[in-house]
Subunit: 313 residues, 2 copies
């Protein structure tokens, strides 16, 4: 049973009559006019982060930012959030205050409010954030159309590179920072909401997240590796440390850039907007299949990305 | 720094302009007509439960029910919820399916929908539920009035007794069941919303939760111990196992009955409704002070109840 099977299991078991529930970046509660968006994300110590790699303030910001990225991927505006905090005994008031200072900084940076929460002891630090926002026209994963172009608002692989280096004891900038500091593409999401047919944030890896759009839309796709943004410094560090560049770029997670599909006509209009993006592929009618080529040569990916749900059946 | 200090720290640091945020059973998002209620609760393994004491289905029901109790304490109706689930590797698909079956049963029992969530690995089982509901006239903690009667919809101490017995290796019914199975007072809450001035659910202990009403309202109170419902079987088992009855009844947590204050005139009307409750005390103007007597003799409580927030400053 993998994550997609699990999602299918849940969607069959739990229907949602008030809007669109399980299966997108955020749920949408239908209402007249603007739609309410709600999304929730967990950050768990030694799964999503190690305390030695990140300061409490940065961690609080990251817990907010990963949720903002989900709101961004729906083309929405975030408003307020709820915090569930399981806090270990070995951390003290100082760390707790730093955490809440980070949360406060996030509120100021992104114009958010903390609306409520729950606090508990815990043996590992566990952070649950539920974010509430709104969108006039939410962009779903499921509406990719034949002939759509595939676009992306930034680079992939930098966060995974930073993480790999951190895990081997090296903190090399800017890569370690790219892992610790999530920059949600809120403005980009709101612009793209006017033009894109489908959208997702790249949280678990470019390939796995693109496959989520394809599966939800019942489409296939072609990705041109040479169109991706891969800085020379990244290529160099991959060679130096014998890291697989393809794996980092295609399957490394936590990039939090936006991946979208757009009709060629709308892409022409998007060029007039203040947004930086690249066209990296196109949607094809062939169902659920993804081809990746690098200068005409097909690439096989062994590892699709981070699958949180990897359990023996 | 205790829980009340912590709440004060948070309320000072984080304001909420869209309604009432931190400091009640659920947040209230103001809107025209019906108000939206949102509340969140964490359940963490070895803090809130031990896996050996509770089945996965019951645990899922409990994770929902503690949130429903918060909605009930605002006089609200619950509608849908979000689940954050940190799931340990030593549990398998079987346990996971049982958990979701419990969730499904809860949806059917309380007419709820699962709207979204997040799943992660974890070293300890960690369950975060965020519940969304609504209330026409939410009942807050802060509106207790001089001369109000203090009422309660059921018994306290039974869950704590069940827990004490479980922790010493004894599973004696009905006490163990009272600990494992939370019955949220949703209908009672909706009836009380028409009459009560203030309300809270007893989750951390009768005294600590009553003190929360008093502190929020800037009032004092008198509690008559002899008015509390204490079944003979409970008195007997306390004697048999040398357990402190006062401590269980006054400070034992997780009862999830509703504690409310009501004007004497409204209490007369409440008697006509289909609801079971007892009058156990009265609100006095003396600020923040609580007197407890048992047949005229003052009781001093050493332990107020469960304080999740107990940290060295």
């Amino acid at each position: 049973m993998n994550e997609l099977d699990f999602e299918r299991f849940l969607k069959n078991k739990f229907s949602f009559t008030r809007g669109q529930g399980i299966g997108d970046d955020a749920s949408v509660i239908y209402s007249e006019g603007t739609q309410q968006l709600i999304t929730t994300d967990l950050l768990i110590e030694n799964v999503h982060f190690r305390l030695r790699d990140i300061e409490m303030k940065e961690l609080a910001l990251k817990a907010i930012a990963v949720n903002l990225s989900d709101i961004a991927a729906m083309g929405g505006i975030p408003h307020y959030f709820y915090l569930g905090l399981g806090f270990p005994k070995n951390l003290g008031i100082k760390e707790l205050k730093q955490f809440f200072q980070g949360l406060k900084n996030g509120c100021q940076q992104w114009n958010l409010e903390l609306a409520g929460g729950d606090f508990s002891k815990s043996s590992q630090l566990c952070i649950s954030v539920t974010m509430v926002g709104e969108a006039e026209h939410p962009v779903y994963r499921q509406n990719a159309k034949d002939g759509d172009l595939i676009g992306i608002t930034g680079q992939t692989g930098a966060s995974a590179l930073g993480l790999k280096l951190l895990l081997s004891g090296k903190s090399i900038k800017p890569w370690s920072t790219r892992h610790q500091k999530v920059v949600p593409c809120l403005q980009e999401g709101q612009i793209l909401a006017k033009y894109a047919n489908s959208m997702i944030d790249v949280s678990d890896g470019l390939v796995i997240d693109l496959k989520r759009i394809l599966a939800a839309s019942g489409k296939g796709g072609h990705l041109y590796y040479e169109n991706l943004l891969i800085p020379r410094a990244m290529k160099r560090i991959c060679r130096e440390y014998h890291l697989n560049e393809y794996e980092l770029v295609l399957s490394g997670g936590e990039d939090y850039v936006l991946l979208f599909t757009i009709s060629p006509e709308n892409e022409l209009q998007l060029r007039q907007e203040k947004i930086s993006y690249r066209v990296i592929g196109e949607i094809q009618s062939k169902q659920d299949q993804l081809t990746i080529t690098h200068n005409g040569k097909t690439i096989q990916t062994e590892n699709n990305g981070y699958d949180h749900f990897n359990m023996k059946s």
